[in-house]
Amino acid sequence: MSALHADRLVAGYGAAEQILKGASVRVEPGEIVSIIGPNGAGKSTLLKALAGLLRTASGRITLGGRDVTAANAMGRARAGISFVPQERNVFGRLSVAENLAISGFLDPAATSARVEEMFARYPMLAEKRRAAARTLSGGQRQILAMAMGLMANPLLISVPSPAGW
């Protein structure tokens, strides 16, 4: 069973401007998939549509065999899709530890253990745990954003333009 199967998605920014015109993608468990294309091809639009930030006009999305097409961004997050935005991807006024904790909002019982796990994986974050996220450098902020994306132990994590980070 595929971790993710998006089938013939049609989506865009308003009815008159459809960016995705029948895009399909399949991701198997443990697989890393890169979506490559020129500027304006719709890479970020596809990821936003998968994350539920854009409503799809047609098509179907299943996650671990479960149909999540009708779910909004919250529902997709609860189903196991973790989308790491390219910009505005941390809560600047919250500390590093709070950013991680809030990213585990859906599973409060496991949050403390997961936060410590992230600190072990990214020691820089442990050193800065009490610092407000807005005080981090650009690179540190992206590491925090990635750790936040991993906090919920998602089935799928999607990252737009990681090379540009």
Partner: protein, 277 residues
């Protein structure tokens, strides 16, 4: 009504005010203000002022315009180091700490919370010294601060206030969080009104009279900053009282206008407000 007809006493009145205030807040939010969100913050702010006028007049229609107060026994003030402190104010402090005070990260309830803080600042600074006022305000604010800083829902409120879209991606429902915030904020504002009534006489326009001070305190401290709200309320309350040394009391409200003018001109984000990321 709760005290005179049902005989529930002050604690019952505070609890009832919390529940009724919270429910009215949620109804206003869900039935009115939420529908205006797409029109922008300014529209919502103006609508909230209009809603405030409607609610005040509903209360006036139902209960009249007379000053009301609780029929409490007269007790002598305590003298602590030369400072006169009313026993009712100490009881208010206990109730305030027990009930708590929640500031909202967004929307009208925050203004109501500011109003409550400013109410107390203004009132207590009239009847006691600034030091005691500061103690009372700070103690209430400690509970508010602890809730927002150290609880799961408090963190979620701060997260939603800063970036609702990102919060959504983390599985947090901003609408649900906002509703909890409105419930707690409006409820505690209602409770604050009863506490104010225990200390002084109140009427349906009591809140309206401090509206300018509320805005001035919020602007002075910095919109969105909880310590800023406390600091702004305290500073404004003290400034209004100290201004009486040099200007007639008729012009007391000019201090608030002057504070708003200065802050918007020289530091629009307020003394403790922060720039966004």
């Amino acid at each position: 009504m709760v005290t005179t007809h049902l005989g529930w006493g002050a604690v019952g009145a505070v609890a009832t005010a919390f529940i009724v205030g919270g429910l009215v807040g949620v109804i206003c939010e869900e039935a009115g203000l939420r529908r205006l969100y797409p029109a922008g913050a300014l529209t919502v702010a103006i609508a909230s002022i209009a809603l405030n006028l409607v609610l005040e007049n509903v209360v006036r229609f139902c209960f009249g315009n007379d000053l009301r107060g609780f029929d409490l026994p007269i007790t002598p003030d305590l003298v602590l180091g030369g400072i006169f402190v009313g026993t009712q104010q100490l009881q208010n402090l206990w109730l305030a700490i027990a009930v708590g005070e929640i500031g909202e990260p967004c929307g009208v309830p925050r203004l109501r919370s500011f109003a409550s803080v400013v109410h107390r600042a203004a009132r207590w600074s009239r009847s006691t010294t600034g030091a005691v006022s500061q103690l009372l305000i700070t103690d209430r604010s400690v509970v508010m601060f602890a809730f927002l800083m150290f609880t799961r829902f408090g963190r979620a409120m701060r997260a939603v206030a800063e970036n609702a879209d990102l919060a959504r991606l983390k599985g947090i429902d901003p609408r649900r969080i906002a509703m909890i915030a409105v419930l707690l904020g409006a409820g505690l504002s209602g409770a604050g009104g009863v506490l104010l009534g225990l200390d002084t006489s109140i009427d349906p326009l009591t809140g309206y009279r401090v509206l300018l001070s509320v805005f001035a305190a919020a602007v002075l401290g910095g919109l969105g900053s909880i310590p800023g709200a406390v600091f702004g309320a305290l500073a404004l309350g003290l400034a209004e009282e100290l201004s009486l040394l040099v200007i007639p009391s008729t012009y007391r409200s000019a201090v608030g206008f002057f504070a708003i003018l200065l802050m918007l001109t020289f530091r629009p984000r307020g003394l403790l407000g922060e720039r966004s990321v």
